[in-house]
């Protein structure tokens, strides 16, 4: 009893213990937030730092003589005849032009000519050929062109490849990097902004420096159109029925249960559905944006339905009562009054659903969108129908690049992720702004 006398002035051990526990608990909470923030920051830094390089590209400026004897023996400048000269016919021209450039810049080397030619991308000969076929009049003269440097030379200027790593690499050598450095000092090699990354199609395993996102962006755009055109009306119609009309019965319950379960079904299962139903059963074309869009539509529907229902629910019943009171039918009440008031919420939900669909990868792998596609898909063609031409999609292209051996593709994949994240950030910002601008508190 005597200890109790000073209990209000002196903290007894038990109080101290309890306060310490309180402090600890609080720290755990802060630590949890810290871990989440740290994870996000590390993730973004790691992706951005390894991906920014993809938006810059190293080019070599060359003056390339185009001898008639090699490129157009007939002398008729007929592109059909000239097309017989393959890219292998153009490669030596580029190599000779580079050797000449070395001589002009006063760079001496022990490297054999073949290895010097390897400073140039394999894509360079192809783009020179395309250029010549498009402008046959160039033949006989000299053309000045910026051609792509090989991936490792490009990597050297971006800091990905160093003298030490080149010494261990069978595909390049420190000597080649030294030549590249001297060429850069002579202003022949330049690393600059690379818009081709966003517009060019994919390139083969050997040439990461030429690979771009053009086809993937187009494919993603087509799929988003399909999703928007299908998921928005179906989702809104379903929500209106469930929220405004559905009687409380077994059928409505069944739909409710189905929607909440579909929202949690793993995305890959939708890929199996697409493969079995849309491709094998309905006979739609593999790797087509149409099938991809259909699969993503089914995936986004639950999201859109859930957000639309929330938006409809937030319209106060007094609005409905007022409309019904002046003699509107139930249908008129919904379409003339409730739906317009809920529109901002529906729009926000739709954008968020689209953003989700844009980043989805797994189901698209199963319906063949991993295929290597170099042709830009047309929205409509007679043979393939609407959105039927083979395409890839942004996230699948990323996956595709991670599966390739050349380290240049890791940079491309990270660059593509930056692109994807920028798109998602824009979409989500628009959604947030819309909500802020139009949200009504009742």
């Amino acid at each position: 009893m005597s200890e109790m006398a000073n209990s209000l002035l002196v903290r007894d051990p038990r109080t101290r213990q309890r306060n310490a526990a309180e402090k600890r608990f609080r720290t755990y909470g802060q630590a949890a937030i810290g871990i989440a923030a740290l994870a996000l920051i590390v993730l973004l830094i790691s992706v951005v730092s390894s991906g920014l390089g993809a938006f810059r590209q190293t080019y070599i400026t060359l003056e390339i003589p185009l001898p008639e004897a090699k490129l157009d023996k007939s002398g008729q400048r007929d592109p059909a005849v000239m097309a017989k000269v393959t890219t292998f016919g153009y490669a030596p021209l580029l190599r000779d032009a580079l050797l000449q450039q070395l001589e002009a810049s006063g760079i001496t080397t022990t490297l054999p000519g073949k290895d010097i030619g390897a400073l140039l991308s394999k894509e360079a000969a192809a783009s020179l050929r395309d250029n010549v076929l498009a402008n046959p009049d160039l033949i006989g003269g000299t053309v000045t062109m910026d051609v792509l440097a090989e991936g490792r030379i490009d990597g050297y200027f971006k800091g990905r490849v160093t003298m030490e790593s080149a010494a261990l690499d069978g595909n390049t050598s420190p000597e080649a990097l030294r030549i590249a450095q001297s060429l850069a000092d002579a202003d022949v090699i330049e690393t600059r902004i690379n818009w081709n990354f966003l517009t060019a199609p994919d390139a083969s395993d050997q040439r990461p420096e030429a690979a771009g996102l053009g086809v993937a962006l187009l494919g993603s755009l087509y799929m988003m159109l399909v999703v928007l055109v299908l998921a928005l009306p179906i989702g809104v119609a379903a929500s209106i029925y469930l929220e405004e009309f559905a009687p409380k019965n077994r059928f409505s319950d069944l739909i409710e249960v189905n929607i909440s379960n579909l929202a949690a079904v793993p995305s890959i299962v939708f890929g199996i559905l697409g493969l079995a139903i849309f491709i094998n059963f309905a006979g739609l074309r593999q790797s087509s944006p149409l099938v991809g869009g259909l699969v993503l539509t089914l995936m986004t529907l639950p999201t859109i339905i859930i957000t639309t229902r929330a938006a409809l629910k937030s319209v106060p019943p007094s609005i409905r009562d007022a409309a019904l009171g002046v003699g509107a039918s139930q249908m008129q009440t919904v379409f003339h009054h409730v739906l317009p008031l809920a529109a901002p919420g529906i729009l926000t939900g739709t954008i968020i659903g689209l953003a989700q669909a844009l980043g989805e990868t797994a189901p698209l792998l199963l319906i063949g969108m991993v295929a290597f596609v170099r042709e830009y898909p047309a929205p409509y063609s007679e043979a393939a129908g609407l959105f039927g031409e083979a395409a890839t999609a942004l996230p699948v292209q990323i996956f595709n690049w991670t599966q390739r051996a050349d380290p240049g593709f890791a940079e491309r994949a990270s660059g593509a992720i930056i692109t994807l994240l920028v798109f998602l950030a824009v979409m989500n910002t628009v959604a947030v702004l819309l909500r802020r601008r139009f949200e009504r508190r009742w």
Binding site: A21, F25, R26, Y28, G29, Q30, A31, A32, I33, I35, A36, L40, V42, L43, S46, V47, S50, I234, A237, A238, Y241, F245, A246, L254, I255, N258, I259, N261, L262, A264, V265, P266, I268, V269, I272, L273, L275, A276, I277, F281, L298, L301, I305, S329, M331, A355, L358, G359, T361, A362, L366, G368, E382, P395, F399, A410, S414, I417, L420, L424
Partner: protein, 408 residues
């Protein structure tokens, strides 16, 4: 060419018919009104809309139905309906709908009620898409799975610990190593995500001030908005190599960048926002009176949280954990890029293992032959995955629902 022309012109013809019907019916109603619109039971506009819907809805429905019959016929190897039959049948139905509606549009016809009935039908059809999707998922997997079990003993599939597919035949297709990898990775992910997510939710709802909340909440939501392929790449280029160089190799536990730990950790990061937002809902649903009561009895905040709030929110939190587990089991891209492809039954978390989803991807991409068990096994794996996640979801929803009833 004939098929193409059909596909191309049928929608055009039907829509044209609808527009014509709309104009004609409206005109007829106007004539019937004879200048005084009050004699009509419905506005001329409603007559027009009713006619257009009488064309479009039956045409669309019959096209869907006939196409389905055609596809089923083709699946059986017989041409039940030719493309031409479908074309003419749909067009005839559209024309009948158009004509019928035009003829009905007289002064006494309640066209608005008729058109609203059509709209209601459309709304019901749209909401049954959810049922059709579930049906499609189940059917697409059940048939192929049955075919798989005709070629491969189901006991071997469910009970064998050997996974060695071989496209020349004689494969060992036991699900156990895949199931083990799936559960192991999900377990690690949950061990990481549940405490972090739960404490984040507790801190945000019980301790943080409005400013802290306005920063931390969106931050966690950003984690939820990042696509899984990004997490996958993060596992592949950052987390995997770091774990290998600083943990696995120095400890002598393995030298593979892709491992259970890599995939589990990254998946854990992905699940943080999931656990935290669901637990947040559960914690916020606990009535303030219970906290006040606890404080009034002299409990500190953490004691209130531990002894009053958490027990009250426990069913909701359990539901959140179950949903997170179902997410983890079905996750694909992180494990494809971070876990490896070797089917293995091992306890070492730094070894590469594989999961059900990885094998579904690898068995169904590339050249596939839908008669061989090596391809069909993917459907059996998919059905197993679907059943597993569905079970977890139903259980979670049940727990959450039961709990909600207590406070409302």
């Amino acid at each position: 060419m004939w098929v193409l022309d059909t596909v191309f012109s049928l929608p055009v013809l039907v829509i044209a018919l609808a527009i014509v019907g709309l104009i004609v019916a409206r005109a007829r109603a106007n004539i019937a009104a004879g200048g005084d619109i009050r004699t009509l039971a419905a506005l001329p506009r409603a007559h027009g809309i009713n006619t257009a819907l009488s064309v479009l809805v039956p045409a669309l429905a019959s096209y869907a139905l006939l196409s389905l019959i055609r596809l089923i016929g083709r699946q059986q190897g017989t041409e039940v309906l030719s493309a031409g039959t479908v074309f003419w049948a749909v067009l005839a139905i559209a024309a009948i709908g158009c004509l019928g509606a035009i003829l009905r549009s007289s002064a006494g016809f309640r066209a608005r009620l008729a058109s609203e009935a059509w709209i209601r039908l459309v709304l019901i059809a749209a909401s049954s898409v959810a049922i059709l999707t579930t049906l499609g998922i189940v059917l697409s997997m059940v048939f192929e799975t049955l075919q798989f079990f005709r070629q491969y003993d189901w006991r071997d599939f469910f009970l064998s610990a050997d996974w060695a597919p071989n496209f020349r035949g004689n494969s060992a297709l036991g699900i156990l190593p895949l199931l083990w990898g799936t559960l192991y990775i999900s377990f690690i992910a949950l061990v990481f995500a549940v405490p972090v997510g739960l404490f984040a939710a507790i801190y945000l709802s019980e301790y943080a001030g409005p400013r802290m909340r306005s920063v931390a909440k969106p931050l966690i939501e950003i984690l939820a908005g990042i696509p899984t392929i990004v997490y996958g790449l993060f596992a592949l280029i950052t987390v995997g190599p770091v774990l290998r160089d600083y943990f696995a190799q120095p400890l002598g536990l393995g030298d593979s960048a892709s491992s259970v730990m890599t995939a589990g950790l990254v998946m854990g990061i992905m699940l943080i926002p999931f656990v935290s937002s669901l637990s947040d809902d559960a914690i916020n649903a606990v009535p303030q009176a219970m906290r006040d009561g606890s404080s009034a009895l002299g409990a500190t905040r953490s004691e209130t949280v531990r002894q009053v709030v958490i027990p009250a929110a426990l069913p909701g939190i359990a539901g959140a954990v179950l949903l997170a587990a179902s997410r983890a089991i079905g996750e694909t891209m992180i494990v494809v890029l971070g876990a490896g492809a070797a089917a293995r039954l091992s306890l070492n978390p730094f070894e590469a293992m594989t999961t059900i989803t990885v094998k579904i991807v690898s068995q169904l991409t590339g050249d596939t032959d839908f008669a061989s068990p090596e391809t069909l096994v993917a459907f059996a794996l998919g059905l197993t995955l679907f059943t597993l996640t569905l079970g977890l979801n139903v259980l979670a929803l049940k727990i959450v629902r039961k709990y909600r009833e207590q406070y409302e």
